[in-house]
Amino acid sequence: MKITFKATLAALAVPFAMSAVQAATITISCGNNAADVEFCGKFAEDWGKKNGHTVKMYTPPASSTDQLALLRQQFAAKSGDIDVLMIDVVWPGVIKDHLVDLKKYSKGVEKEHFPAIVANNTVDGKLLGMPWFTDAGLLFYRKDLLSKHGVKVPQTWDDLAAGAKKIQDAERATDKDFQGFVFQAKAYEGLTCDALEWVYSYGGGTIVDGKGEITINNPQAAKALDAAASWVGTIAPQGVMNYGEEDARGVWQNGKAAFMRNWPYAWSLGQAADSPIKDKIGVAALPAGTGPGAKKAATLGGWQLAVNKYSQNVDAAASLALYMTSADIQKKRAVGGSYNPTIPALYKDADVAKANPFMIELLDVFTNAAARPATATGLKYPEVSQAFWDAAHDVMEKKSDGATAVKKLEAKLKTIKKAKW
């Protein structure tokens, strides 16, 4: 009798244990705006239904600085709560010890993606993230207003300042709140992206060069920061000093700005059916600086999907990451949400081109974007970036001028570097 009872228990337990292995609950971290939920959560759920897994969505904080900070705390506690992580292009060097090498799972599929991004995601020979979408800073402008006021698409920052001023002055006659130019200048990673574009476009380098030398203390970098400071309170509202991406887009999409610097995602949201500025949006490369070495520049952004080393279901998580980064899903995300694919072949796709003409026109911008000095500075990148955005913020708050700020920044970076990065 007893034996039968035990046997029954065991017989009952086995299928449960087996199903626990098969049907995993996978938590995926997508972005935090409405489009991310629509174009990430939905596809992940599809995958879950097909494979008999439950997929949960995790919404990360809006600021990428906060996202990274939270992740590092979770890693310090060896937490496996989030299985599939969305990681920024500058993070692989910082969190490399906590991610799964995806080479075993990808079986060479990464070769379909842009080699530069794959190289960025490969640390010590390990593929730590599958490229998901790429980003570069773009200049959004109001086609209707530019032609109304006879302003050409700006080629230099000086053009932009003059054009923005002209439009702003004229529009303010009817709309007191109208702004010439909005961008991201809150003290966070976004300001590092914006300010790197200014500095690099003036020929001022990338803060720290590929060899790890600190290059920021140069007259062109100072000039770039001074130029940006001159916009605040003139063509840009004082409030930009506290704007992130979504704050800038809020002003822009309400039709209250002539120009905006933002990432490609702002395109599809601006073109949405209920958008007041639908079909009035133009997209161009960001303007060039002036002086020696000046050129057009965009900061390389973009996100990868990685698998948490502490996850309970590494295999299932890796398979979800590969599914989400596949050409099929990337195409759907590009057409519906204007997320730039990381697969060159998709840039020849007719549907992608029709939905996002700028992706094809500005392909150069995406392939030649300037990388933030994350590779050279490794684990100390967050500190380097923070010192840089603080310096830029100080100049724009008029607490310091460009030349003093870059000199002080150089000294600060040396303190952070100590003997080596």
């Binding site: 590092r72 809150k186 966070y188 409030g239 000093m241 506290n242 603080d390 913020h393 100080d394």
Partner: protein
């Protein structure tokens, strides 16, 4: 020894227990009762505190807590340390740590003074007899009851430079020509944080002061009224000295709280190095930059700074109290 034994024989044991309690062993038993609490304290307060102080003497990074080097007082006094080798020079107040100390004290002093004054005013009003007093008393508590993060976000929207209510009202009233970026403009950021903090913590001050006011003897006031003493004089000579101890306790509470300010500044402002508080600096170093070692040094210094400030404040007020009694 069955239940029967216990029932029948237990009474014989009671007297001896009483004797034990009455003997010098009372202290021992007291310790026994305290022990669980003490053990708990060691685990939840002592151990983390000790660990944090220990971290401050190492170069631990959040990336790997098990791997670190002992660096002595480097995080405090070396060339790269918090207090650098320029403790006494003007340069120190230009470093991020120096700026954060300055910001924190500026914020604390201004906000606590304002909160004490407004809290006193509100408490005096609520101490009067009027219809619906209970309702008003409850209503005043609302700002204190809202979690700081929520009220900071709320005020962030109310004070927003483009869509904010305050800017719209000021514009409509014709008081300002351009919208003001309250949270972003360095000229306004600190004052904005102070204003929101005053809004939030005035109820706390008012409540503590009101409690003190209600314990005051009524006959004192009746005597003053019979003698025809001016109400203002009554306030200075009777009310204020009598509620002074309670007022000081309230101020110390608020001061200690204000010196730890973090959430309001973090949510409301742009968080640049120029508006950061001491706690914000520590969080940034520890969490954003992952420097658990130097961040812990910051946390330890912060605790010491607040401790010293509290001791100085208590001393200063006690001296005054003594003078008065003399």
């Amino acid at each position: 020894m069955g239940p029967l034994f216990v029932r029948e024989c237990a009474p014989f044991f009671y007297p001896s227990l009483v004797v034990v309690l009455r003997m010098k062993n009372r202290a021992k038993i007291a310790w026994m009762f305290l022990a669980p609490m003490l053990v708990l304290m060691v685990f939840v307060a002592g151990w983390p505190l000790a660990r944090s102080i220990w971290f401050s003497f190492t170069d631990t990074n959040i990336n790997n807590l098990a791997e670190y080097n002992y660096v002595g007082f480097d995080n405090y006094f070396s060339e790269y340390g918090l207090f650098g080798n320029s403790v006494l020079s003007a340069e120190f107040w230009g470093t991020d740590w120096g700026v954060s100390i300055k910001n924190t004290f500026e914020f604390s002093i201004i906000s606590v003074v304002l909160e004490t004054l407004t809290g006193l005013g509100v408490a005096m009003l609520l101490n009067q007899e009027f219809k619906g007093r209970t309702l008003v008393r409850t209503a005043v508590l609302v700002p204190w009851a809202i979690p700081t993060i929520v009220s900071a976000k709320m005020w962030g929207w109310i004070l927003h430079d483009q869509f904010g209510l305050i800017n719209q009202l000021l514009m409509d009233a014709g008081l300002i020509a351009h919208k003001i970026a309250f949270t972003a403009d360095p000229n306004y950021a600190l004052m904005t944080v102070v204003a929101v903090d005053v809004w939030k913590t005035t109820p706390f001050m008012a409540l503590l002061i009101l409690a003190a006011l209600q314990t005051l003897p009524k006959d004192c006031y009746e005597a003053a009224r019979v003698d025809g003493v001016h109400p203002l004089r009554v306030f200075w000579k009777v009310t204020l000295p009598l509620i002074r101890p309670a007022l000081l306790v309230a101020v110390v509470f608020r001061m200690l709280d204000a010196l730890r300010i973090f959430d309001l500044i973090y949510v409301l402002t742009s968080n640049s190095g120029s508006t950061i508080s001491m706690s914000g600096f520590v969080r940034r170093d520890m969490v954003d930059n992952g420097n658990l070692g130097s961040g812990s040094a910051g946390a330890t210094s912060l605790t010491l700074i607040i401790f010293v400030a509290a001791v100085l404040f208590l001393r200063a007020t006690r001296v005054k109290l003594n003078e008065e009694s003399n």
